[in-house]
């Protein structure tokens, strides 16, 4: 076994999944928006990065005669930035349709329908993004030639680049969630009507997290497609959204470190780890099924035994910001509390 290749694959897969899971957590864990269509933002980012590096479909670079509606050859990191912009705009569009008037279960159903619609549009309209075959031979960033995964040296470089991006995203997420904006988002999750009555434009806040989460999902897809050099509808079914939810729920909603732990368990240990198990009964498909069964069981166990996740949302002890309060036992003010 090529352990270098395995390690770089796991690192890139886990970190890109973590970036997407943070985006989902911003929507679901922090703001309470149940987005079952999250994977379409990952896909949008992957396709955008792909067509912004593949070049024009009618150009000489399209040796595989792939069909797609438009293309360009932009230098790094413009395809990634373009992917984030497209993810954000798509988030706004989907959000305007689904978030404006709907809440809770209905909102979740609309998201599921949006996800299926997007999948079938791409599958049906071959001229749009090459249909079920998807796009292949997508050049890797900062590597001329772009032959699949390149060498292990490039793999290590790319995994390092991915980790750097992951750290930057983690820093940005931390800034957002530990700020008054993060508090307002959590307030929307806890009681939207009260947040509105406190002067917060909850519709705008929900749209904001949809756009930001969409951008992060798209960035995740853009990084991943630069490594695997191909992208097709098989990579973004509903099951992939389910895995991202699993990472958030198992790790701990509303906690960046918790989600990181969840992403490592789901994408590092279960999805990648299971691939190295021996075949069951000579059937490789059975081993693959173990990924989904294990992830599903983990969600069930987590919901049952530790619904708050492995590392739950942190309590913000804001009283530490000021001089320690004189603890008045039972209070001496308006009321006496037992």
């Amino acid at each position: 076994m090529n352990w270098g290749f395995f390690a770089t694959t796991v690192i890139i897969y886990v970190v890109t999944s973590l970036i997407a899971a943070w985006g989902l957590d911003l929507q679901f864990g922090s703001t309470g928006v149940l987005n079952f269509s999250f994977i379409i933002f990952v896909a949008a980012g992957a396709y955008t990065a792909a067509i912004l590096t593949l070049g024009s479909p009618s150009g000489p670079g399209n040796v595989a005669q792939q069909q797609y509606f438009a293309g360009a050859t932009l230098p790094f990191p413009l395809p990634w930035i373009g992917a984030m912009v497209v993810g954000g705009i798509l988030g706004l569009l989907v959000g305007l349709v689904a978030l404006k008037r709907l809440r809770g279960d209905y909102e979740a159903i609309v998201m599921l329908v949006v996800s299926l619609m997007a999948l079938y549009i791409v599958l049906s309209d071959v001229g749009f993004l090459n249909g079920a075959s998807g796009l292949a031979l997508i050049p890797s960033p900062l590597q001329s030639g772009g032959n699949l995964t390149g060498g292990t040296g490039y793999g290590w470089f790319y995994s390092g680049l991915t980790v750097v991006v992951g750290v930057i995203v983690g820093f940005v997420m931390h800034r957002l969630m530990e700020s008054p904006l993060g508090r307002a988002l959590r307030a929307v999750r806890e009681n939207e009507r009260a947040a509105e009555a406190m002067g917060r434009n909850t519709a705008a806040l929900r749209l904001l997290v949809f756009a930001l989460g969409g951008s992060l999902g798209a960035l995740s897809g853009a990084i991943l497609v630069g490594f695997i050099n191909a992208w097709s509808p098989g990579a973004w079914g509903f099951a992939e959204t389910f895995l991202l939810f699993a990472a958030v729920i198992v790790g701990g909603q509303g906690n960046l470190v918790g989600v990181a732990v969840g992403a490592f368990i789901i994408f590092g240990l279960i999805i990648q780890g299971v691939l190295f198990l021996p075949q069951i009964g000579g059937d490789s498909a059975l081993t693959e099924c173990l990924q989904w069964i294990t992830a599903g069981l983990l969600i069930l166990l987590s919901m049952w035994l530790r619904p708050q996740g492995i590392i739950p949302e942190r309590r913000r002890r804001l009283s530490r910001w000021i001089a320690p309060a004189r603890r008045k036992r039972n209070g001496s003010g308006l009321l006496r509390w037992r």
């Binding site: 940005v172 800034r175 957002l176 700020s179 008054p180 904006l181 993060g182 508090r183 307002a184 959590r186 307030a187 999750r189 806890e190 009681n191 009507r193 009260a194 947040a195 509105e196 009555a197 406190m198 002067g199 917060r200 434009n201 909850t202 904001l208 930001l212 949302e313 309590r315 913000r316 002890r317 804001l318 009283s319 910001w321 000021i322 309060a325 004189r326 603890r327 008045k328 036992r329 039972n330 209070g331 001496s332 003010g333 308006l334 009321l335 006496r336 509390w337």
Partner: protein
Amino acid sequence: MALDPAQPTSVAGFRQRPDAVESSGVPAGPPILEVAALGVTFGGVRPVVDVSFSVKRAAITGLIGPNGAGKSTLLNVIAGAVRPSAGSVAFEGKRITRPSAHAVARLGITRTFQLSGEFGGLTVLENMLMGARAQRGESVIGALLGRRYWGAQERALITRAKELLEECGLVSKLDDYARDLSGGQRRIVEILRATMADPKLLLLDEPFAGINKSTARGIETYLATLRARGMTMIMVEHELASVDRMCEDVLVMARGSVIGRGTMRDLRGSRDIRQAYLAG
């Protein structure tokens, strides 16, 4: 008889500020709120029918009536949570019939809820801070700039929130989750949170519902203090003794309409109003 904040209260430990017990000094002036021919229709149901009244400044206006009279719906319309099908609401001379709830709140109208309005998964201090508006760290750019940008304002708000909580004996609960408080404590936090915004008009939807008498008297005293400081309030309440103590002006609603207005003493003498209560 309305509650006089200048009189010593029987509620243990309530610390009144000297400025609180003096006259608010707010000139009578034009009414702060004017409701004209207001109507609300939900499908075939008309919970509010042709309601008109005005609210004077620095006073607590009571809104009473039997269940289903339309009191909470009326409060929801004023707060921008429900759009009326007819009529208008003007706040400080400005028509506010169309804006959404958050826009109304930004104009200076804050409300509390009949049922729990707290942010259960936020601490008491965080709940209080949600009451404050125009926070520097609530924009994406502001949040990304970090504590150096919004920290000073945050610290000032925390200090103010702590003072308010101290005033009501809840300072030991600063970092407790709001969901872990008792019903009375939640009600107090909700009212204190509303005052963090320095509202010009505070809408109170049954502030004494489901809490014990001692807590209710404490809240009464605090609301009287706010009134003395110049805050205007509209209070929907079923506890008529509290309304009697706190409100000089009381509106009675039944079947979606205002059927009477005056002091509780006047209203108690009205046969129509007694009948409306008994008949629902």
